[in-house]
């Protein structure tokens, strides 16, 4: 499949959850508390796209396909897009831009603190996701974009600290994240490299 087609396919997929939420909102199908449904929906999709983005490098390594790495930026930007929706829902529909109240929330409530921190860290990644920044920042670009490992951690923590008693859902995200980070550990990479060199030697 040509990469342009792959990209447009993934672009449509990325918009789908937001479109669905909008449609359900319009049809009044989000239940008794639609604003809560939008808040939770946009938040969960942020986390999902962050994890999907992190899955692209391992996917390329295992499959040998090159497209996962070529759509990685778009996926990361979708994570940012849903994070913006999530934050806007909070600022507008939850707090109605009551800045003193929002500031207190950030200071007093650990789950808001880490959520906001995750967004603040995501912002420079989205802003430098262009060719010009890559060239301009050189080696520092790579360093900066290592934040892609930290941000989902904060996202999962944000989720864990939000739930009242049932940790099952955040635990699933935590497990997926742990797996995606584990395959990047030097030990696991060394093993794989050894396998590859054995194969080429043989």
């Amino acid at each position: 499949m040509p990469i342009a087609l792959t990209k447009s396919l993934i672009f449509s997929l990325g918009l789908l959850p937001a479109a669905l939420l909008a449609w359900q909102f319009y049809r009044d199908e989000l239940g008794a508390n639609p604003i809560e449904a939008i808040t939770h929906g946009s938040g969960e999709w942020t986390l999902r796209w962050l994890l999907v983005t992190l899955a692209m490098t391992p996917l390329k390594r295992w499959s040998g396909w090159s497209w996962p790495v070529r759509v990685r930026r778009m996926l990361g930007l979708f994570a940012f897009f849903y994070a913006c929706l999530h934050l806007m829902t909070y600022l507008w529909l939850d707090q109605f831009f009551d800045w003193p109240e929002i500031w207190l929330d950030i200071l007093d409530r650990p789950f808001i603190t880490v959520g906001m921190l995750a967004f603040v860290l995501l912002l420079p990644l989205a802003l430098t996701s262009n060719r010009y920044s890559i060239k301009k920042l050189g080696r520092n670009w790579k360093r900066l974009h290592r934040l892609a490992y930290v941000i989902p951690l904060l996202g999962v923590l944000h989720f864990v600290w939000l739930v009242k008693a049932d940790l099952r859902e955040p635990a699933i995200y935590a497990l997926v994240l742990a797996a995606l980070l584990a395959v990047r550990l030097p030990a696991s990479r060394r093993k794989e490299k050894a396998k590859v060199s054995r194969q080429t030697a043989g």
Binding site: G31, A32, I35, L93, R109, P110, L162, K164, R168
Partner: protein, 310 residues
């Protein structure tokens, strides 16, 4: 399934007629199909409510639609999602049902639901309900004062608290298969709170028997406390000398206190309690002290530090 005759209803006095008619049509349509039981949001106990008289303390605020009251519920016994109880509570069997009363009282015993209903004339009370999560509803409950129920068992002088327990049956309550909370669900009130005229034992809402997802067949309604205090599907009542520990207190003692009075000045550690979203409204409204029932209940707590006794 028994559906009561129209002449038994008195809620027409307080329910807008179009809503009332819509609801009747809804139920009749279900019956016509002969499969009303297949729609869990129509799941109702086999109990029949008799006369319902308008009761005191009712709010004249706009009531939360029946559909929202019965489809957006926190009832972890059927799952932790808000929609779970309406979808998964059809397995709850509410007939026969009995409530066992024990502890510090002269006449302990077990009472069948029919006997409970026979002994207490039913009233409609339109109360505000404020959830600890920051949303609220206005619900027309049908029930009777808990005080009237308690008096039948003649609690003795050592009875300082009342403890309540929800049914514990994994087959009927699938959410109990996972230990999200320490089952069975427990709640408690101080004796004077339990005897307060606002405190209700509810058996219905909107003039109908309680749907399973709302705590059928009998539940507590304490309108000046956060919703989780209003324990659902009660099977045990115990009079105690010592303060009971509620399930939520046990799960997170720093977040849920024994009193859990609605208080805009005491935040939950994870969210502010100053405002709330009334279900169906876009903006938020200010949360009122004791959920707007300060005039009736503030005296119960005079001299108490409500920040400490949250």
């Amino acid at each position: 399934m028994l559906i009561k005759q129209a002449q038994d209803l008195t809620e027409a006095d307080v329910t807008p007629p179009e809503l009332y008619r819509e609801r009747r049509r809804f139920i009749q349509a279900g019956l016509a199909a002969g499969t009303a039981w297949a729609w869990p949001w129509l799941a109702q106990g086999a109990i029949k409510l008799g006369e319902i008289a308008p009761g005191p303390f009712s709010s004249d605020e706009e009531k939360t639609p029946y559909k929202d009251v019965t489809s957006y519920n926190n009832f972890y016994e059927f799952g932790t999602g808000k929609a779970d109880p309406a979808i998964r509570s059809a397995s709850l069997i509410t007939d026969p049902w009995s409530v066992e009363v024990s502890g510090e009282c002269d006449r302990p015993g077990s009472l069948g639901l029919e006997d409970i209903l026979k002994a207490h004339p039913l009233q409609e009370r339109i109360y505000r309900l404020r959830c600890v999560e920051g949303w609220s509803m206005v619900i027309p409950w049908v029930g009777f004062p808990l005080a009237d129920f308690i008096q039948r068992f003649q609690p003795n002088s050592r009875a300082k608290y009342v403890e309540f327990e929800t049914l514990y049956d994994k087959a009927q309550m699938p959410g109990q298969r996972r230990r999200v909370l320490n089952w069975p669900y427990r709640e408690g009130l101080r004796m004077d709170e339990a005897m307060h005229p606002l405190t209700l034992l509810a058996v219905g809402l909107y003039g109908e028997p309680l749907p399973n997802q709302n705590g059928a067949p009998i539940r507590l309604v304490v309108p000046w406390k956060y919703g989780f205090k209003s324990i659902k599907s009660i099977v045990k009542v115990r009079f105690r000398e010592t303060q009971p520990v509620s399930s939520w207190q046990q799960a997170a003692p720093s977040e849920y206190g024994f009193y859990s009075n609605v208080n805009p000045n005491v935040d939950h550690p994870r969210w502010s309690q100053r405002r709330e979203r009334r279900i169906g409204e876009f903006g938020k409204r200010k949360t009122l002290m004791f959920n707007g029932y300060a005039e009736q209940v503030a005296s119960l707590y005079s001299g108490m530090d409500l920040k400490k006794n949250f």
